[in-house]
Every structure is written in C-alpha cells, then in structure tokens.
C-alpha cells in the first residue's frame, strides 16, 4: 500500500469509527477455533469492503477491557508502519485502537 493509500484508508477508518459504527466487539474468540471462524468470515468479504471488515473484527477507536488492550500490544501490529499485519485485515491502524482479533 502506498503512503497516500495508507493515509486515505486510515482516514476512512477513523471517520467510520468516529461516526459510531457498531462493530462486533463481543464475543472475544476464546480459542483458536472461534478465532479461525472469524477469519473465515473475513476471507469471504469483497477486498474493498472495509466497513464489513471493521464490523466483523469488532474494531474500536480506543482500548478495550479492564487491561486496556489495544493494537499497541497486539502481535499483529507493526508499530513503525502503523499497520495491522494479520493477512485477513491488512489495514492501517492506530496504536490505541482495538479489535477482537487482538492477540499477544
């Protein structure tokens, strides 16, 4: 993704989340089995269907839960690139965002 595309997609996600987009933050997938089911759903989406991607993966524009889990802690987050490296997501993200595919 080019720098321009990265910035534009980041802006688009920011706007969607700020507008109060309802996403499936719960339930959190307790094991690999449920995690894999969410990934399967994501793989079925059209490549440009950003909104559904955010909804299914339960995106939030702030940390989540008692431990304040966020992208910053997640193994899929590339801090310098501000990028989620989970292939099924592959979107720019901010470190203080969160989704239910969070893993450490």
């Amino acid at each position: 993704m080019s720098n321009d595309d990265h910035g534009a997609t980041l802006d688009a996600i920011t706007r969607l989340l700020a507008s109060g987009l309802e996403t499936q933050v719960e339930p959190f997938p307790p094991t690999e089995k449920e995690f894999a089911e969410i990934l399967r759903e994501l793989r079925g989406l059209a490549p440009d269907d950003l909104k559904s991607k955010l909804i299914i993966s339960g995106f939030k524009d702030h940390p989540h839960g008692p431990d304040n889990a966020s992208c910053a802690d997640c193994i899929y987050f590339l801090a310098n690139r501000k990028w989620c490296d989970l292939p099924e997501l592959a979107v720019p993200v901010e470190p203080d965002w969160y989704c239910r595919l969070w893993r450490v």
């Binding site: 959190f28 307790p30 094991t31 995690f35 193994i75 801090a79 490296d85 989970l86 292939p87 893993r103």
Partner: protein
C-alpha cells in the same frame, strides 16, 4: 571393538535414514576410526533368517558381548500384551528387546518413537506402542523406570523426528570410546550436551521474537514463527540451530515452525485439526509460553518490546 546392534520396532525408518546421512562422524567413520562393529542394522545387516536368529541368540546367551543396543521405533505390545503384531526373527520383537537390553552395556533409544512413543503411541495407540523407558513424559516405559544397562546407566534417550544424524553418531562414539561415564543426562535421560539449549538458541529469527514482530503467513521474509504459526522453538530443548541440518540450515531458518519433536508431548495436541502450524491461545494469550516465562511477565515484556521495535525489524530481512 564395540559391538553394536540396532533393531527397529514401530517406526518409519526416519532415524535410520538420518543415521545413514551422518557426516560428523559418518557411519563409515564409526567403523573405520572408532572401532564400532555393527553386528546388525535393518539397512546394513548382512544376516538374514536363521543366521540372524542365531546372532541374536548368541548375544542373549552372552557368547558375543553386546556393548551398545540401539532401538529405533516403539516397542509394540499389541494385541493384548503379546507383541505378536511385530514379530522379528521368529518371535515378538519385544522379547528380543527385553533380553538384549538386559545384556547390553549401554542401551540407546533413537528418535521419538523409541524414547517416548512418538506418533505410533498417539491416541488411540492401536499398536499399544510404548517407548523404551518412557511413555510420553511418564517414566517407566517398556523396560521400567528402574532399568539400568550393565554400565549402570538408564536408557540414553536421543529424541527427534528424526534425531539429527550427528546426535546419533556422536553419542555412539562417546559410548564406543569409553566415555559413557562422562555423559550427563537431563530428567528425561537426554544427553545434556545436546538438549540443554533450546531450538530457539541460534535461530535467525530471534530478533523478531525479541521485538515481538510476528510472521503471519508462510513464506514471509521476516517475523518470528512463535506468535502465530505455532513454532515451539522457545520451549523445545534441541540444538537444531547450533548443530545445523545438512550442515547449513534448520526448520526455523527456512521459515518452518519448530514442531517440538524432541519433547515427550510430540505430536502436540494429538495432531487435532487446527493445532498444527497455529499458535494455540486462550483469550488471546499463547497456551504454551516460552519456558520459564509467566503470563504477567510475558505480557509486560511484549508491550515494552513492541514499543522499542526499530523500523527495520518490520521490513523483509531475509531477501535474495
């Protein structure tokens, strides 16, 4: 000369293939330079039929001294504890194993099947397979936990699927040249010289482990294989990244997660669908953490490491 006999129980011959590919030292070196007399081996033995049976009988009767007894593969006890499903030289092989182990100066279990039971002993274990002195992590196995060879050692376990060629031949040299008493074994009776370090020790992706940058797909030219792809390198005792395979590589060096094959639990999770090449988690945290690391410490370390990660660690590093 040190007389050696090698039998193969419930196995795929993988350890024999490994053994025959040894280089430091090679199988020929064992014979020409280190005085090992290979009385019989499934791929090298010249004796067949009655002559093989006579050889085995002579060893059991101590007409020929047995210095090193090697077993590759499980001891098969089915059906109903008779061992009849694996007959060898006229009788259940498990009877030969019992009698040869009683006469041997040293007994070695080579590969996972002979050490812990390995894949044949995975549930439902239809052949009632068992390792020589262990079944998975439980000590005992076929010979019982109190078994000692004539030199006073328990079964020397050299696990792996397969064991690295040099682990096998270097151990044989140690035994054949009278250095058996110098061996130091761990709780699972593995030689410490090979099994004190981890697969991760020497892994070329260890900087990605340190900075918590994950490989998320096969074929990526960056990233640690532990976080997402099920690599067991941080909790598996082996020298796979110190004593390289084919002298120049290892699983993790070519982007293949370690399967933990030198540990008694291998194959992990009984090979249930979805458990291979996928890190198993509970509420987002790996079910198996690096050896000695607690969950709280792991999470703290992760946050700090990610915050400190340099830009280059996120880019492809293993480029052509």
């Amino acid at each position: 000369m040190a007389n050696l006999i090698w039998l193969q129980g419930g196995a795929c011959s993988g350890n024999t293939m490994s053994f025959l590919n040894a280089e430091e030292p090679s199988v020929c070196d064992l014979v020409t330079d280190f005085g090992i007399n290979v009385l019989w081996h499934p791929s090298l033995g010249m004796e067949l039929g009655d002559r093989l049976r006579d050889l085995l009988r002579a060893l059991v009767a101590e007409e020929i001294p047995l210095d090193i007894f090697v077993l590759e593969g499980t001891v098969i006890r089915a059906p109903n504890g008779t061992g009849e499903w694996n007959r060898f030289a006229g009788r259940p092989m498990m009877q030969w194993v019992q009698e040869l182990a009683a006469k041997a100066n040293y007994t070695m279990a080579i590969g996972d099947c002979a050490t812990w039971g390995g894949i044949p002993a995975t549930a439902p274990n239809p052949t009632d397979s068992i390792g020589l002195q262990f079944l998975k992590r439980e000590q005992g196995g076929f010979l019982g936990k109190d078994y000692r060879s004539r030199a006073g050692l328990p079964v020397i376990n050299v696990p792996g699927c397969p064991a690295h060629p040099d682990w096998i031949t270097q151990m044989l040299v140690a035994l054949a040249t009278g250095r058996g008493a110098d061996l130091s074994l761990d709780d699972l009776q593995r030689p410490k010289t090979f099994f004190s370090t981890f697969t991760q020790t020497g892994c070329t992706r260890s900087m990605h482990f340190s900075y918590k940058v994950s490989a998320t797909e096969f074929g990526q030219r960056k990233g640690c294989l532990f976080y997402d792809l099920g690599c067991r390198g941080p909790m598996t005792h082996s020298p796979c990244n110190r004593i390289l395979w084919n002298r120049h590589s290892s699983k993790t060096r070519v982007g293949m997660p370690c399967l933990g094959c030198t540990e008694p639990e291998f194959p992990f999770f009984d090979l249930a669908p979805g458990t291979v090449f996928k890190t198993q988690t509970v509420m987002g945290v790996p079910r198996s953490l690096p050896t000695g690391v607690e969950k709280v410490g792991y999470v703290k370390m992760l946050a700090v490491s990610k915050a400190a990660a340099p830009r280059w660690v996120e880019d492809d590093i293993f480029v052509v």
